[in-house]
Symmetry: C2
Subunit: 108 residues, 2 copies
């Protein structure tokens, strides 16, 4: 487990904190990322596409606005998002508390 | 997303609730399970081994006793467990609140 802090991630605002739960060798090239991610109020993770892999977000805490391949919707704890290969997404914290979610990238 | 309730899971006590976040076709045979699991106070998930796959638990809420291939340790929110192929694990809720965790099975 290691923690990474990324500024202006994918062209977003502010800082994103990524708590990596698995190391690469544990994922056996089946998954590309398994992490708990925190976006502070006013910060965001910019729009980006996935190719040859999908990414799932599972919201644990906070309130966000999610771009599902460009289409915006509100997300909150308990919500699941899924970006298949060839699509893109982004997520902004629009609340007053940290926005915390699980991120899982699956190859294929 | 669908919810499953399992009695005496893997020989454990009481009931375990599994909120499946991804369906099989979304996991492309790279992962076997991606779920938020809840074990109520006094309930447990019995000991079981994994072969040809690993399983990671990430504890979100509550307090438990985890069997790491037989060795016991306490787990709480923020803890990560990893069971490689060929090893086994179990988890019991020993607190007064629900024990909630993420479960991810990766093939290979």
């Amino acid at each position: 487990m290691h923690i990474e802090q990324v500024e202006k991630m994918c062209g977003g605002f502010g800082q994103v904190t990524i708590k990596h739960l698995l190391e690469e060798e544990q994922m056996k090239d089946k998954c590309g990322l398994y992490a708990e991610v925190t976006i502070n109020p006013g910060c965001s993770l910019g729009f980006h596409e996935h190719h040859g892999e999908s990414e799932t977000y599972y919201i644990l805490k906070g309130e966000g606005v999610y771009s599902d391949n460009g289409e915006l919707r509100r997300v909150k704890a308990g919500d699941v998002t899924f970006t298949p290969s060839g699509s893109g997404h982004a997520l902004a914290n629009v609340g007053s508390e940290p926005l915390v979610f699980m991120a899982l990238i699956i190859r294929g």
